[in-house]
């Protein structure tokens, strides 16, 4: 098989020898089939036995070999070395983000990730009453459509590593945790079920920005951001009074009234008194002729939009 040499630039750190991490470059002969994990094994066996990384199943199931490859969190065993080398000119390998400290080389302390997973109580709180009434707690395929997808999560940490919100907001419990919670909210055997929704605002339900990194980097296609949206729908419907739900409500009303986003009312209804913080900005915008007007003329054919609202019963008024 055709091979060619590729450059692997790896962020190394040994707390017993270095104060700071540093990059070390290795040259490895790769072929079309080799994964980044194969290349790391090759380096470890043939060039530097001290190179440290987690790995186990080599099949994308255990989630152990999550690391950043050319700036994005991936499983090394599912990532083709040649694709990376061709796309970026090298294979840059670094430990995951949002999980500190680095224990050694590519091995991070995942305690922070596990703590956030636990905050959401992502385990079945079994309804004892079911035990009395049924021999088996049967769940139909239809009932399990969403939970089954969420259950595909292997807790590798890729989504947590690349979550932009988590970098800046340590109260946000992150995409994996919320995806796991969604799996139980919709599980008919769970005693808490939709009641789980009420505590979610405090652990960051509305902190997700929809950056979609958790979707693009999930090796199991769990799409946590979709789970977060599902949870927000449930929260919104259960009269969540938070700023996040007010934002959705204001936007919905705005579209219903004029067909368009009314930036002024969306801002005021979401921010309420806190809007006073931006008075200076609003004045500057007004001077520049770009302050959004709260008065919006409805779009032509607005009745069609309102008909569609009626058909779906619209979003709940609060």
């Amino acid at each position: 098989m055709e091979t060619h040499e590729a450059s692997f630039r790896i962020l190394r750190f040994n707390p017993e020898q270095n104060e700071k991490s540093n990059y070390q470059t290795f040259r490895v002969k790769i072929d079309n089939r080799m994964t980044v994990l194969d290349a790391l094994e090759n380096i470890k066996h043939e060039q530097d036995a001290s190179l440290t990384f987690r790995r186990s199943c080599r099949s994308g199931i255990c989630g152990s070999c999550a690391m950043r490859i050319n700036g994005l969190a991936k499983l090394a065993c599912k990532t083709r070395a040649r694709t990376e080398a061709e796309r970026h000119g090298e294979v840059l390998v670094e430990p995951m983000l949002n999980m500190a400290p680095v224990i050694r080389d590519l091995v991070v302390d995942m305690s922070e990730f596990w703590r956030e997973i636990s905050r959401g109580t992502p385990w079945l709180i079994f309804d004892e009453a079911l035990k009395e009434s049924l021999n088996e707690n049967l769940v139909t395929n239809e009932q399990l459509t969403v939970p089954a997808k969420m259950a595909d999560c292997i807790m590798c940490g890729c989504c947590f590593s690349d979550c932009v919100s988590r970098v800046f907001d340590k109260n946000f419990n992150g995409p994996a945790s919320l995806a796991k919670i969604n799996r139980f909210v919709t599980d008919p055997r769970d005693k808490e079920g939709a009641n789980r929704i009420h505590g979610l605002v405090e652990i960051g339900l509305w902190s997700c920005t929809h950056c979609y990194f958790c979707w693009s980097q999930c090796p199991r296609d769990v799409r946590p951001v979709s789970a977060i949206s599902d949870l927000r729908v449930l929260s919104f419907k259960s009269l969540d009074p938070s700023q996040g739900a007010r934002h959705v409500n204001a936007l919905t009303d705005s579209v219903k009234n004029s067909g368009m986003l009314n930036e002024a009312t969306l801002y005021l209804r979401t921010m309420r008194l806190a809007a006073i913080k931006d008075i200076d900005l609003m004045l500057k915008m007004a001077v520049k002729g770009k302050a959004p007007s709260p008065l919006k003329r409805p779009i032509p054919q607005i009745e069609e939009v309102r008909t569609l609202f009626r058909l779906t019963k619209g979003a709940k008024e609060k």
Partner: protein, 289 residues
Amino acid sequence: MKYAYYPGCVAKSSAPELYDSTAQVASKLGIELEELVAASCCGTGALNEGDPFLNVLLNARTFAMAEDKGLDILTICSTCQGVFRQTKWLLDNDSALKTKTNEALDRIGMHYEGKLKIKHLLWALIEDYGLSKLQEQVVKPLKGLKIAPFYGCYILRPPESLQFESHEKPTSLEQLITVLGGEVVHYEGETKCCGFPILFVQRGTAFEMAATYINNAQNHNAYFMVTPCPLCHISLDTYQKKSAKHIDTDTNVPVMHLPQMVGLALGIPHEKLGFSKHMVSMVKVLRGL
């Protein structure tokens, strides 16, 4: 080249310079834009969190309008682009949803077939107009200008519904900057989130995101940033001074809307491109041309 034009709500509200500069560039390049004046808001990804099916219906209605004209949709907002492409992807891959949607649309005398394409201006310039043809139209190359592209999220992710370029190493803005004669500056944050979706909900976090990436661009000596999304523009330009203050720094990086940058290179007079409406002054950049 003719499109069903969907400028989006922000270009017709707090970013009139985006609407105006697009009109100037389209006219200069001979791109015909037939505006979908009766189209509704795309939902910005937030309407979806109140009622997902309603969001699908409203966007399918917009698609049906464009299909009725036999035209593809052109957007100038990455968020509209992303929400539209996700809705279309859902409809085109779920026949039950498409049937249910068309049953509702039937009540207002409309039908979504699924034939249309949805393109951001950035993609249309590359795929339909052609960069070499665009290069021929450049009369004032952006020579010597270090330009920091800011893609943001919705024009790159999720890759399944967008399928234009690699979300891992996008090059579209780089290609455009290069043919316009500018020099691309790469920096940490060009594909990250500007923070706008949580600007009114988690203000401090949103400020930290925007300020960090603007600061990175400034540290790489960028003359200005350019974005295909007016919502990113709000975070990066309108709130720049506030976000910088939030992280105890000071940044002064002008931020251009995509068509403004194209318009400059095409020789469209500055005053027609709406630079005076920016919060971070463009004067230094314009003088340097």
